[in-house]
């Protein structure tokens, strides 16, 4: 991060493919987790590949007023949402709005599904996946991509205080769900 990354970006903008390759290596896993949190386990690779290609194409438009991560994660989210919209035309999953409209805990069906997973980390991951998007994305950016709150706010176009509130809300929901799971026989 810091100067090092800015220098990489500067070089990549000048056409240095090795510099961009370094950025790819640095952000591949983070972008993957972020995309996965939006599109689910399928097609993630396609989304991430597309996001990097998009980033390379539009690198000249990146004014370096924010960190590369902030700028790039926005591209990842946009690509993932585009992908999601395409998938929505044939998927039978319930629409996002069904459970995105409130901060209420996950449905019984969701919890049942999570409970079937044996591994604890997988349970948590699945529970994260079941969170409404407006809570899920700040949480993922914070704990999977390790972004500070001001940058989360920038990526998502929300206030920093809102980002904090949403992360807290996401944790609250997860805690409730996971507590229920632990209570299950």
């Amino acid at each position: 991060m810091g100067m090092d990354e800015m220098e990489l970006v500067r070089r990549a903008k000048a056409g240095d493919t090795v510099a961009f390759e370094t950025l790819v290596h640095r952000y591949w896993a983070k972008a993957y987790r972020l995309a996965e949190s939006i599109v689910g386990s399928t097609d993630v690779e396609d989304v991430v590949v597309e996001a990097f290609v998009q980033a390379w194409k539009s690198l000249q438009n990146f004014r370096q007023q924010s960190s590369f991560g902030t700028w790039f994660f926005r591209i990842v989210i946009n690509q993932a949402k585009q992908w999601q919209r395409k998938a929505a035309s044939w998927t039978t999953e319930p629409l996002e709005e069904d459970f995105c409209s409130s901060d209420e805990a996950l449905s019984f069906r969701d919890i049942e599904e999570i409970a079937c997973e044996r591994d604890w980390q997988q349970k948590v991951k699945m529970a994260v996946q079941k969170l409404p998007e407006h809570l899920r994305l700040p949480l993922v950016l914070r704990f999977w991509d390790e972004l500070p709150y001001p940058e989360i706010a920038q990526v998502l176009g929300i206030k920093e205080s809102t980002a904090r509130m949403r992360v807290a809300s996401a944790l609250r929901q997860l805690a409730i769900v996971l507590a229920k799971l632990e209570a299950l026989p």
């Binding site: 056409g15 290609v53 999977w144 944790l171």
Partner: protein
């Protein structure tokens, strides 16, 4: 501090983002309130698990498709190149008509390192053209010309070495190559190649049908972005369009390299495919 206030500040507490005075107040409350303490522990555990997930395996390695796709990007050429390309397309079309009207034997295919005969049309356009030239390595016929800025500079024709695109580094333009292309000086010795399909695995100059057929190494063009090259004829029955492709090669005499780009036929100002480099005086491509 009340339980409600603690819950409101729980995130800052577990993330260690609290100032000392607030932290002390909250810590005092935690000591006495079992419920709030349990809640904090629950969140801490949850955050630790989330971070552990991020550290765990399960992320596939970087997809080779990414390197491939990064090498197949669209880059806009500067206006001068656009003008140059338009002139070249016009030349090729004009030459086609001449070629049909006055058929002649194809030239012997050799690597060309010389100037071609002057063409009135190109003189008007401020350019110089050769009537025909071959590339030994690929057995292709091509047209080559130089810009008027250096009319005496030799034509530098090299094989069309379109990269397989699997390696981003080797098939993408370096900063140097891009800068060179964006500089008018880079056009000294620029070469235009128009390749067309006559039948599968056989290419010829679109402007000189039949006369310059030659087998083309298939692996060189076995690329997704070039799939339309593989038409069964020079005219696509579906669209009625001729299936030729235009390449521009720029010979950078200073750097002693040849760079190749595939240009959008309908929009010659755009580069649509691979860039490659080949050291002058070396038969093997650098990619």
């Amino acid at each position: 501090m009340t339980c409600q206030q603690v819950r409101q500040n729980l995130l800052a507490w577990v993330e260690g983002e609290m100032d000392e005075s607030q932290w002390l107040k909250l810590a005092q409350h935690m000591e006495t309130c079992e419920r709030c303490r349990a809640k904090a522990q629950q969140w801490q555990r949850l955050i630790a698990t989330l971070r552990a997930i991020a550290q765990s395996d399960g992320i596939p390695p970087i997809s080779p498709r990414l390197w491939h796709q990064l090498s197949v990007r669209r880059r806009k050429l500067p206006a001068i190149v656009s003008l140059f390309m338009t002139a070249c397309v016009a030349f090729l079309l004009g030459w086609s008509v001449r070629g049909i009207a006055t058929p002649s034997d194809p030239p012997k295919t050799t690597t060309v390192m010389g100037q071609g005969a002057r063409d009135e049309g190109w003189e008007r356009a401020g350019m110089q053209a050769c009537k025909g030239a071959g590339v030994q390595a690929l057995g292709l016929s091509l047209c080559a010309e130089t810009l008027p800025s250096q009319p005496s500079s030799p034509l530098r024709v090299r094989s069309v070495s379109v990269s397989s695109g699997n390696d981003f580094n080797r098939s993408s333009p370096s900063s140097l190559s891009r800068l060179r292309l964006e500089s008018p000086l880079a056009l000294n010795g620029a070469t235009v190649l128009a390749l067309s399909t006559w039948r599968k695995r056989s290419f010829h100059l679109s402007s000189l049908p039949l006369r310059f057929n030659a087998n083309f190494p298939t692996e060189e063009f076995d690329l997704d972005n070039l799939r339309t090259v593989w038409q069964e004829g020079s005219v696509n029955p579906a669209t009625g369009e001729s299936g030729y492709r235009i390449f521009v090669q720029v010979t950078d005499l200073k750097e002693q390299v040849v760079r190749t780009v595939l240009v959008d036929r309908r929009e010659p100002s755009h580069v649509v495919a691979e860039w490659s480099e080949q050291r002058l005086g070396s038969e093997s491509a650098t990619h």
